[in-house]
């Protein structure tokens, strides 16, 4: 039981780490730190960095939460931890 819970937690931590890395990259990375070089590229009338800051990051957050939820549901089944 102990081992099972520990590896469940380890897998969860790994998923969280991946998700938060993407979370950081799309908002702070593309929307803030890299905004100037990205702004030289255009997406329609949007400058790309501006688009990530005001649109793209929000869409990415949505994708991340649902992806994490789906992965965790699988993990819960694998470890029979579903309630």
């Amino acid at each position: 039981m102990e081992n099972k819970d520990t590896s469940y937690w380890q897998e969860n931590l790994r998923l969280i780490f991946i998700c938060l890395a993407i979370w950081f990259f799309v908002s702070f990375g593309l929307g803030l730190l890299l905004v100037e070089p990205l702004n030289t590229i255009k997406l329609g009338g949007y400058k790309l960095g501006f688009w990530f800051a005001q649109q793209g990051s929000i869409y990415s957050f949505l994708g991340l939460i649902f992806w994490y939820g789906a992965k965790m549901n699988k993990l819960d089944k694998k470890y029979h931890a579903e309630d």
Partner: protein, 596 residues
């Protein structure tokens, strides 16, 4: 004009009637379960309720106005207020739901096995929530002053009264269903005018796409390029690149809003009522869907409002609007005192430029490169908070749309104010009085205490709303900084660090919120009272140029650092607490949310 008034009354009173009817109906149906909103609530409905609870006057009324004037710099609000849900879904909600308690201080009490920790959490919660309500009061005041055509102060008094009636009568029970209705009103009120305006300006009905499209005026120019050109020719900063106090400040500001979102008790509370750990995760997702619907439209609303405002005042370069021919919305907002014009050069026309001096200055436009003579600015006051409410009128939309926006703004302010008042009153009556001071208090007295606390909270926030420390979204941003520096780190360490002990967490919370408050007060005035700040509120006095609104990020780092330092010297949490944390981390055997 009379027609507009009639529509506004119908929209506002009609929606209020619906909220009260729902509150009444839900109360009659579910007298038995007071806290858990019942198993019949789907994740989508729960998401809508969280959306209404979450999206306040700041989101609805202020945010697009801030974006309109800040341009790219306004992105901190967009990323900050949505990114927090990622943290909530992964770092807090599922584990706190598994533990199964009702208030945040109660969770802190269990995890840190200390009444002191509970009291500190209550204090942090009240400070953050009260600051947040001030922002709502400002929004309510603005909305009522416009809608009843009174000045701002009277609008605020009326707003305080309505919030009081609403929170005490309708706020306690059936709040979830009322909030679903409020979400629906809010989202329609926000998106319908945006669709109209986007269609008018670009021919594309979807505002998110319209913002990136070309203008429908035959020029073939992209809307954002046009906006950049127009504002820079008047001496303002380029819209799509205007920074907000430097990259470090924007970084800290965004972090502060994100972790503040995840640490605000009235939002966390919503996750305690879902049926399972899995539902806690998916509810965060649905909540963000509901929120993103408004948040991805907001940048379009802001940019288009700014362009329309500029075009109304100066339809073509040098052809300024005659003051005598100003449109009706201009006159209406002048009455509220939130829009002011002063004919500095006596030509009877309106000049709206960045030139704050009394003399014309010559500048080189950043985009067109032209030499431009800027006349002194005559729009001496354009309150940013009026932009969303004035937007449909500026764009000449039909009166029923304008009326709908008034109803939406009030729904946003009321639903959040009610949620916050509930969090404050439960933390005092449930956590402080029943939990710590007088454990044998009867349920009746607990409820009475809750109502008294609500009344006091409304009066305090009303007073501070009369002496507004800033724009609604700006004030609200401080609340996030306070929650970010105190509650979020304590909760996160409680889940992710088994060894984290009570004394260490208490030291962390106190130093985190302490340093943030000190920083805010020294620049903004003690309790935001103007004139009591001992360091000026200006860039050169700021720590690394980080504005007080963004300082929550630094406060949070201090919180984590102090907690781990104290942990090193005082030893880890006892074994049974560590076992409890391990249990929290794994779903399975989830207990129904229960009240001790």
């Amino acid at each position: 004009m009379e027609e507009l008034k009639l529509y506004t009354y119908i929209a506002v009173f009609g929606t209020f009637g619906v909220y009260f009817a729902i509150a009444w109906w839900a109360r009659a149906g579910t007298t038995s379960d007071f806290y858990v909103a019942g198993g019949g609530i789907t994740p989508l409905q729960n998401g809508m309720a969280i959306g209404a609870d979450w999206m306040s006057a700041a989101s609805f009324i202020s945010m697009a106005g801030l974006i309109a004037f800040l341009g790219y710099g306004g992105s901190v609000f967009l990323m900050g207020w949505t990114g927090g849900y990622v943290l909530l879904a992964m770092l807090l909600a599922p584990y706190m739901r598994k533990h199964g308690k009702f208030t945040v201080p109660e969770f802190i009490f269990d995890r840190y096995y200390s009444k002191t920790a509970r009291i500190v959490a209550v204090a942090c919660l009240i400070i953050a929530s009260l600051t947040y309500i001030i922002g709502q009061m400002k929004g309510v005041g603005v909305a009522f002053s416009r809608f009843l055509e009174v000045d701002y102060d009277n609008g605020l008094y009326i707003g305080m009264f309505v919030v009081w009636v609403y929170a005490v009568l309708g706020g306690m029970k059936g709040i979830t269903y009322t909030q679903i209705a409020q979400y629906v009103v809010m989202i329609f009120a926000y998106t319908i005018p945006a669709v109209f305006i986007s269609l008018q300006l670009t021919g594309n009905p979807i505002p998110q796409l319209g913002l990136g499209s070309t203008l429908a005026d035959g020029s073939g120019m992209y809307l954002l390029d046009k906006l950049d050109l127009v504002v820079t020719d008047l001496g303002f900063k380029e819209y799509t690149t205007a920074n907000l106090g430097g990259t470090l400040n924007m970084f800290a500001y965004t972090i502060s809003l994100m972790i503040g979102t995840a640490g605000l008790p009235h939002v966390i509370m919503r996750f305690f009522t879902v049926p399972s750990v899995q539902a806690a995760r998916s509810s965060a997702g649905y909540a963000l869907v509901c929120i993103a619907l408004l948040y991805t439209v907001a940048p379009a609303v802001g940019a288009m409002a700014r362009l329309n405002l500029m075009n109304t005042i100066e339809p073509a370069a040098g052809q300024n609007l005659e003051y005598a021919e100003r449109p009706q919305w201009f006159k209406d907002w002048e009455k509220t005192g939130l829009l002011k014009y002063e004919d500095k050069n006596g030509d009877g026309k309106i000049q709206y430029t960045s030139n704050k001096t009394d003399q014309p200055v010559t500048i080189t436009s950043a985009v067109s490169g032209k030499e431009i003579i800027l006349l002194p600015n005559e729009m001496v006051k354009v309150d940013r908070d009026i932009m969303v409410l004035a937007n449909p009128a500026i764009a000449n939309l039909p009166n029923w749309v304008i009326a709908l926006v008034a109803a939406g703004g009030l729904a946003a302010a009321l639903s959040t104010a009610a949620g916050l008042l509930l969090a404050i009153s439960s933390s005092i009556s449930h956590d402080l009085m029943k939990g710590v001071l007088t454990p044998d208090m009867s349920e009746k007295n607990e409820l009475l205490a809750g109502r008294v606390v609500m009344t006091i909270a409304i009066m305090v926030s009303g007073y501070l709303g009369l002496n507004p420390p800033g724009f609604a979204a700006g004030t609200v941003a401080l609340a996030f900084g306070l929650a970010a520096s105190s509650i979020f780190p304590a909760l996160m360490m409680g889940i992710f660090s088994k060894k984290m002990s009570g004394p260490a967490a208490i030291a962390g919370m106190c130093s985190g919120i302490g340093i943030t408050m000190l920083y805010v007060f020294q620049h903004k005035g003690i309790m935001f009272i103007p004139g009591t700040s001992f360091l000026g509120d200006m860039g050169p006095n700021w720590f690394f140029g980080i504005s007080p609104n963004a300082f929550g990020a630094v406060g949070a780092i201090v919180n984590f650092a102090v907690a781990f330092a104290v942990l090193k010297f005082t030893g880890p949490a006892p074994a049974h607490i560590q076992a409890m944390v391990e249990n929290m981390r794994v779903p399975g055997n989830v207990s129904a949310a229960h009240d001790h």
